[in-house]
Every structure is written in C-alpha cells, then in structure tokens.
C-alpha cells in the first residue's frame, strides 16, 4: 500500500466520522430539544461529538499528509490551489466557530448552521476535482450556504414544533 493510498483511506475515514458525526449531532440536537432536554445533554449527543472530534483530528493529520506528499513529490503548485485554500478557510471557520459557540459568543442556531455547512462544504471541496472557481467565488458561495442552511434548519425546527431555549 503506497503512502497516497494510506492517506486517502485515512482521510475518507475522517470524513465519514466527521461529516457523519456532524449530521447526527444535528439530528440528536433536534431530538433533545423536542424532548425538552437541555441543548447538549444526552449520551448520544456527547458520544457523537467525541466521534466528530476524532474524525476532525484524523482529517487534519491526513489532510496535511496529502500536502506533505505534494511537496515531496514535486507538486508544490497544488498548495496554492483556490480549492485547497477555500477548504482550509472553511475548516478554520469551523474550528473557531465551535470555540465561539462553546464560549457562548454565538447562538446555537448560528453555530449549528456554520458547523453543518462547513463539514459538507469541506467534503464537497475535497471531492470536486477540477472545480474551476476562484477563492473568493468559493467563499462567497460558502457564506451564502451558511445563511441558507440556517434558514432551512430554522424551518425544520419550527415545523417540528421546537422552541429555542433562551440564551442564558
């Protein structure tokens, strides 16, 4: 097995854990709100967050594994790709957004939208080889999607009859 294959498998495993974890975190969060529990209580949700974090760590290490390979094998130009830098930016926004939510600087609905959109945006950017767009174009679409997902999630919460707990 070459290093490239190993890194690819690791990156896919990280994606499964991370994107899957983010998806189920949203589902369990809605379920816990609907059942009247506090926002992040519940074993399922806590376990899901843990799996999500493990996925993120695997993704970061394997992601940089890709970059190291590119550097060492003479493909340094890949490190300046707009698609790569958009992905790095999205991941940075995700990580800082989680901190902001943990510090109660942003409301759950916004943290939720940023997290959900960021995970899927990173997945799509990683998979979309040959994407012909500039960094600014990709980021503009990303921010629009964050807003769109926030609206969609709010609609889903409303249709499920879930009232947001007031921010304490």
């Amino acid at each position: 097995m070459s290093w490239e294959i190993f890194i690819k498998i690791a990156h896919l495993v990280g994606t499964v854990l991370g994107v899957g974890g983010a998806t189920f975190a949203e589902v369990f969060y809605l379920k816990s709100l609907k059942s009247g529990q506090s926002e992040t209580s519940g074993d399922f949700l806590k376990t899901t967050y843990r799996i999500l974090r493990i996925g993120m760590i695997i993704l970061i290490i394997s992601g940089f594994g890709y970059l190291i390979l590119s550097r060492l094998e003479g493909h340094a130009e890949r490190l300046y790709s707009p698609r790569l830098w958009s992905k790095l930016t999205v991941i940075a926004i995700l990580l800082l957004g989680v901190v902001a939510w943990q510090a109660k600087k942003i409301p759950m609905w916004l943290g939720s939208a940023v997290s959900f959109t960021s995970w899927y945006a990173a997945l799509i950017l990683g998979a979309w080889r040959g994407l012909n767009a500039t960094y600014l174009e990709i980021m503009a679409v990303y921010f629009l999607l964050v807003a769109l997902i926030a609206v969609v999630l709010a609609f889903i919460r409303k249709s499920l009859g879930i009232a947001h707990p007031t921010k304490t």
């Binding site: 760590i57 060492l72 340094a76 990580l95 989680v98 901190v99 943990q102």
Partner: protein
Amino acid sequence: MTSFLQILLIAHIIFGLLGVIAFYAVWMGLLKHKPSPRFLKFSSLWGFIALVLSWFTGGYYYVAYYGTTVKPVIKAGGYPWAHALFMEAKEHVFLLLPFLAAVVALVIWFWSERMETETATPLGSGFQIKRSLVLLSGLITVLGIIITLAGVIISGAVR
C-alpha cells in the same frame, strides 16, 4: 532531499499539528462549565512537548537544509515573498509558542483544582486565572494555525 531530512520535515509538521490540536483542546476544555483538570493537564503537557519537538525537528531542517537549498529556490521563483514575509515571520513567531505553552501547562498543573473550586463566583480569582488561560491557549492555537498556514504557503513556493 535525503530521507533523514524528509523525516525531519514530516516530523516537524506532524508534531506542530499535534501541538496546535492539543492547545485547541485545552482552549475548548477551559471553556467548559466544569473543566476537567485531568484532561487539561494531559493536553497542555503533551501540547508543550509536541511544540518543543516541532521546534527541534524544524530547526534542524531549517539550519541544515532550508537556508542553503530551499530558500534560494523560493527567492528566485515566482513567490519570493513566501520567504521574505512568511518564512521570516514564521520562524520567529514560532519561538514564542514554547514559552507561552510552558506557562499554560505550568499554571494548569498547579492551579487547575483551584480553578474548579473558585469558578463559582464570576469575579473570583480562580475565574480570572481561567479567563487568562483561555486567552493564552487561544493565542497559542491561533498563532499555531497561522504558522501552519504560513508553512503551506512556503512549501507551495518551492518550485
């Protein structure tokens, strides 16, 4: 590049990532309503060790190889600012991290239980220490992320 230098470069990057991840975990851990002293001690200590290892492995690569072989390529290429700004800034800002990390680890090791008991009062001294540690671990994390991204820029200019 010899295999030894390749291993050093890889080790520098991986240890650096582990250090930043560890201090991100410290940052998040401190923001919890009830921080876990055991988790904070573990993360801060290993984060400090990882940053020191990244320092030494990167330093050897930098002194033994980068200056004589990589820097001229970057400066002669299409992105000379990758060295002039990003490498110069990175190699010096990185020097701050082990000392910031050492202080965060020391304070956590000797004060984490006190923070737990004194967090109840928002203006209590334990809370003030915790707040300062949040700022410091956040600073280490953010600087670590910036330094990592600078490394990507530098490596991308080697052509």
